[in-house]
Amino acid sequence: MSLKSRWNEFKASIQPRKKELKFMFTRIKKSPLSIVGTAIIVFYIALAILAPVLSPPWPGRDPFMIPRKVYLIAPKPPSPEHIFGTAQGSYDIYYGCIWGTITAFRVGIVVVGISLVIGLIIGTLAGYYGGILDELMMRLTDIFLAFPGLVLCIALVVSLPSNLTIIELGSLKWTLPLGPLDKLLLALAIVGWPSYCRVIRGEVMRIKAEDYIQASRAVGCSDFRVITRHILPNSIYPILIMASLDIGAIVLTAAALSFLGLGSPTGYADWGQLISLSKSYIEASLEYWYTYIIPGLFIFTFVLGWNLLGDAFRDILDPMLRRR
């Protein structure tokens, strides 16, 4: 086959996807809420990229640890030097909020990534092969889904060891050191994968019953080829999009855990952590409003951006609702 005809074939094969993408974009453009959502997320991406410029870290220090020159216990109101004020322990709120953006993206992306990979592997195998494997996998997800996420996270963060042994074969021992934030990420991923697994399994089962899967089996495609070339391309995109929009929800849970004192160490640039520093000042007086209002606004708008997009996409991707 000549290169040109291959190119044409490729072009023809992506045509429906291109059309689909175009359709999605026109729908997004029509919905004002999703435009606001996109704008918010673009703003936060810019903040994350520009963090070293907006609030330069001290040279030679971990940029995620909020630098401080003095050690005062009480918070200080906004001033030219600290435009958002300082939290308990003289941590600069502005610095924490800016670098906290990177932390938020990191938490969201890593957690969604890990849970998606686990969910994808297990869900596909369970959905495709069915039978006893499916039954086992589904009971396993039942067990995970039986716990409320936040509590399971708390229990996991507390019980995960600081050195996780991944493989131990005689003298060969491979361990992964876990910091407090890594424990939080891992805990969130362990809690998150079963719901993706369920959705992916459902999709795989639905597509498995289609005629073209029967056809590809009949012409002798291996299981691997059927899964990777026929089933996944037809099921994965909506799931990928929905999962990536979960970043907001994950950041919200992570913030709640940080607020309870289970996430990053004190002084780490993390929004939930910053708010937890103000715990003992809320009931005292209204004058310390900046210690929780400002970091809270960051969490709220960040999550709002993802949820606005998510809501729009849910309607767009739902085949029962979309073309009306």
Binding site: I143, P161, I282, Y292, G296
Partner: protein, 347 residues
């Protein structure tokens, strides 16, 4: 399959799930060193001094299966261990704290569910009108608010600023009175016990203290019900039998209330059951910020306690409690589903 057979089959499936839960819980505890785990077998304070003996006596360095069966037999006898954060046996501590959580759920769940269903239905019926847009945006905003942050702001405004509603379950005078001997605790729910004791002011005081936490829970949780109700209703409104009902010349209200809403309610019923179960097992954040001594705060305290190491027994007891509540909530949902939709049990 008849309804009876379905229920029996579904009940039998609870057993392996329960065993799986205990296995998973116990497997997680194995990551922790034996001296911390010893608290699982303690029943009173004096034994704390003899941890070494307990490690030896209960063979906490034994193989997994041996330890698991020993732990299960203690569990079946109702011994959940000693919680040092609560300074009580775990079972007692949980029984004492559950009413506070239950009271929160009793007041917020009906608002969340009924208001959520109403707004969801209206939103779907008036799709793409200003009502729909406002309801949806408010729901998304509520869904995106960090609950602890909302709670802190409400406390700042209504307690520190205006002095209307305070944290805790009761004011000082009321909580003194409640702990006195002249007040009989029938249910542990202050609002109901106040009425039963003929002390109306206790009920009023308890209600005042419930306003803020119930508001937080409603704002945060209602979004999900609205969203699911709306999309389920939209889907139903497009079904053939709705077109048919309209073609018959039925009134719009009749079509919506009798034909569409009933069918659209099915997914919302599941969701509501899981939501109530979720709240029963503790609204950790709300309880923490409002200083309500409920079951969620019990778990959070236990998990965060750093002084003498983690309060293992408390966490385990709580996790087990949660698992059981959820397994049974799922059971109820499945049975309701099978009852409402015969296709499910015929599968």
């Amino acid at each position: 399959m008849g309804m009876g057979a379905f229920i029996i089959r579904r009940l039998l499936m609870v057993i392996p799930t329960l065993i799986g839960c205990t296995l998973l819980i116990f497997a997680v505890t194995q990551m922790i060193n034996p001296y911390l785990r010893a608290s699982l077998y303690i029943t009173n304070e004096k034994q704390l001094a003899r941890i070494d003996d307990i490690v030896k006596k209960y063979g906490l360095n034994d193989p997994f299966w041996v330890q698991y069966s020993r732990w299960m037999s203690e569990l079946l006898r109702g011994n959940l261990g000693w919680s040092y954060t609560a300074n009580q046996p775990v079972a007692t501590a949980m029984m004492r704290r559950f009413p506070a959580t239950l009271e929160l759920v009793l007041f917020s769940a009906p608002i969340i569910i009924f208001l959520g269903i109403y707004l969801g239905v209206q939103s779907a019926v008036r799709r793409d009108t200003w009502f729909d847009h406002i309801t949806r945006s408010t729901a998304i905003i509520g869904w995106s608010l960090p609950s602890f942050w909302l709670a802190m702001i409400l406390i700042a405004i209504f307690y520190v600023g205006l002095g209307w509603f305070a944290p805790h379950r009761l004011g000082n005078t009321a909580s003194m009175f409640v702990t006195s001997t002249s007040f009989i605790k029938y249910t542990g729910l202050n609002t109901i016990d106040g009425l039963l004791n003929g002390q109306l002011w206790i009920t009023v005081d308890a209600l005042r203290h419930l306003v803020l936490p119930v508001t937080v829970l409603t704002v945060i949780q209602i979004a999900l019900i609205i969203r699911v109700m709306r999309s389920s209703m939209l889907e139903t409104l497009n079904k053939g039998y709705i077109v048919m009902a309209r073609a018959k010349g039925l009134k719009n209200s009749e079509v919506i209330n009798r034909h569409a809403r009933r069918n659209a309610l099915i997914p919302v019923i599941t969701l509501s059951a899981l939501l109530v179960a979720g709240m029963m097992t503790g609204v950790v954040i709300t309880e923490t910020v409002f200083a309500i001594n409920g079951i969620g705060r019990f778990a959070a305290d236990a998990a965060i306690a750093r002084g003498g190491g983690v309060d293992m027994a408390a966490i385990l007891g709580f996790t087990l409690f949660t698992a059981i509540v959820f397994i049974f909530a799922n059971l109820i949902v499945d049975i309701t589903y099978a009852y409402l939709d015969p296709r499910i049990r015929l599968d």
